[in-house]
Amino acid sequence: MNLIANNLTYKPSDQYHLNEVSFNFKEGNLYTILGRTLSGKTTLLKTIAGLLTPDSGAIEFDGKDFLKVPVWQRNVAMVYQQFINYPHLNVFENIAFPLRQRKIDSEEINNKVMDSLKSVGLVGYENRKIQELSGGQQQRVSLARSLVKNAKILLLDEPLVNLDYKLREQLREEFKSLFSKGLADETILIYSTTDPRETMELNGEVIVLDEGKVLQVGPAKEIFENPNSLKVAEISNDPPMNIIEADISNEQIRFEGIEIKAPSHLSKLTKGGLNIGLRSSDIELSENGHEFEVELAEISGSETLLHLKRGKIKIIISIEEVLNFKIHDKIKIDFKIDRAYAFGADGKLESSPFGGLNG
């Protein structure tokens, strides 16, 4: 049973939350909606769930007009970014809640809830009050509640965003294993996130959303290798891809007094006003490279992020080491130019190192 969204538009004020979103969600697949905050991810999920009615467009599921089905009959499950549970019920009853809405005998409810508790690693917490749990545990409870009803459509709206770093890593791992083994074949799983790394790790079909519009659709690898526009390149990389305005002529890339020999996939481009895109990890420190000035150095985990400046150009590079730099230090870097992307002045992808378009 496929879920088909057709030209969904929702514009409550002068800004589009959804702008003609069309998509065919196929059963048994994992979809990741990637977009920055306020890009319309939550709106899309709420529309599918039935908590919002779009201004125009249609949703079809199992051949039926889904918009005409009231929320409580849609058989969807949803996990929100806030940890939403029932404060007046204990853990067991929280998870049993969706089952109690149907006529299911208590022994079966008991079995299902215990199974669900097992799959999220909360066995032994049945009688706890929700308020006594940590954020991560609360989110596990809402995940368990969404799994227990065996819904055909499972929506996860940035489920990890409000957790601390360590819990996020841990839960993400658990999600992956849950999704790979625990889901029935006919389930449609839609997962929204702002985090490109999460998107790549989940490795599903990715929908890149921005200002309510679908920018690109494709497998995670494809989005990563061939972002079809500057915007997708920005959204799908963290830190965002560095964009450098440059000219290419005579097989040379020129910007801010730097001249680099263009690699084969860029050398044929002759248009002026190109934007060269380079991931922060594709720039490295090098003794005989080009000189840049350090504007800011931040250490995140085992990585160092350097914000660099040269003339008008500002870039971010990431180094897999913890290094100490002072502001205004001069350092030398080299570009892995064979991994550079080229975007036209209109923001469209012109050439990619992975063979998109002209490459």
């Binding site: 929320v71 949803m78 929100y80 806030q82 939403i84 007046h88 969706p98 809405q101």
Partner: protein, 287 residues
């Protein structure tokens, strides 16, 4: 902490407390042990004579007490149900929400005695508009002079007057509820009715208990409505404890005896309200 001026700061509060609460209670206890009446005004000491009379020789007090229990419990239940329904209605996004919210509060803002006079006119058996309208159906209930119907007339007026208070408390409670559980419940397959039973009502339980207790305390002091509407009549069929105490104390000036009734009444109320609060907590919070 040893702070030498602390009594200076404690004094105003203590003074007020002693003046308005502790002294009257102690005085009532002392008064109840005296035979103060219009022939013999003064604080003499007659021991427990008043209490013996109350417990062995005054069925009218106990009748009025059970009548009061019936009236106050019935009115509070009705107020709770109607108040909850109204609050739930204007809690949702409906048209003219603000208008209704104010409208439902109007009865509470009127003066009870004056409104009761108006109600008495309403329910007048031959001249009142209620029976005028009911005459279409050929019935003319004796609103104020039938011993059974008169009780319900008192209940109607009380419910009309004080449901807004219940409405206000419950609406405040509803507005303070977290929104998230309702989102979850819809997704989890709860229809609007089940959402009310399984989410709204349990979440409202603590507030409901508070509102019911507050209204029970208020409702058991019912006096002005009865006084104006029926004066306890016909006979003694709408007489409540406070009204009977008023008759004994301030009409017949049996001050000592009225004091013993007041004190007994106070003790019974404290005990019964504590039990009611416990029972409600057990029933509604299920803990």
């Amino acid at each position: 902490m040893n702070f030498k001026h602390k009594y200076f700061f404690l004094f105003p509060g203590l003074f007020v407390l002693i003046g308005i609460l502790i002294f009257p209670i102690i005085f009532v206890v002392r008064l109840s042990l005296s035979g103060w009446n219009s022939y013999n005004p003064g604080l003499d000491y007659i021991g427990l004579e008043n209490y013996i009379r109350l417990f062995t020789d005054d069925p009218r007090f106990w009748e009025s007490f059970f009548r009061l229990s019936f009236l106050s419990v019935t009115t509070v239940i009705l107020q709770y149900v109607i108040g909850f329904a109204l609050a739930h209605m204007v809690w949702k996004d409906i048209k003219f929400k603000r208008f209704f919210r104010v409208l439902f509060l109007v009865p509470m803002m009127t003066t009870p005695v004056i409104m009761t006079v108006i109600w008495r006119t309403f329910f007048h058996e031959s001249l009142g508009p209620v029976n005028d309208m009911l005459s279409v159906f050929g019935v003319a209930p004796k609103w104020l002079t039938d011993p059974v119907i008169a009780k319900f007339t008192v209940i109607i007026v009380e419910v009309w007057q004080w449901t807004p208070f219940m409405f206000l408390l419950l609406l405040a409670g509803l507005l303070s509820l977290p929104k998230e559980p309702f989102l979850a419940a819809a997704i989890d397959g709860a229809s609007p009715v089940r959402k009310f039973i399984y989410v709204t009502f349990p979440l409202m339980a603590p507030i409901s208990i508070g509102a019911i207790i507050i209204r029970l305390i208020e409702a058991s002091k019912i006096m002005d409505t009865v006084y104006v509407l029926t004066s306890g009549g016909p006979g003694t069929s709408t007489e409540t404890s406070s009204f009977y105490i008023f008759i004994k104390g301030l009409r017949e000036f049996q001050m000592g005896y009225a004091a013993s009734m007041s004190f007994t009444y106070l003790i019974i109320m404290i005990i019964s309200l504590t039990i009611i609060a416990k029972v409600l907590t057990k029933l509604l919070l299920k803990e």
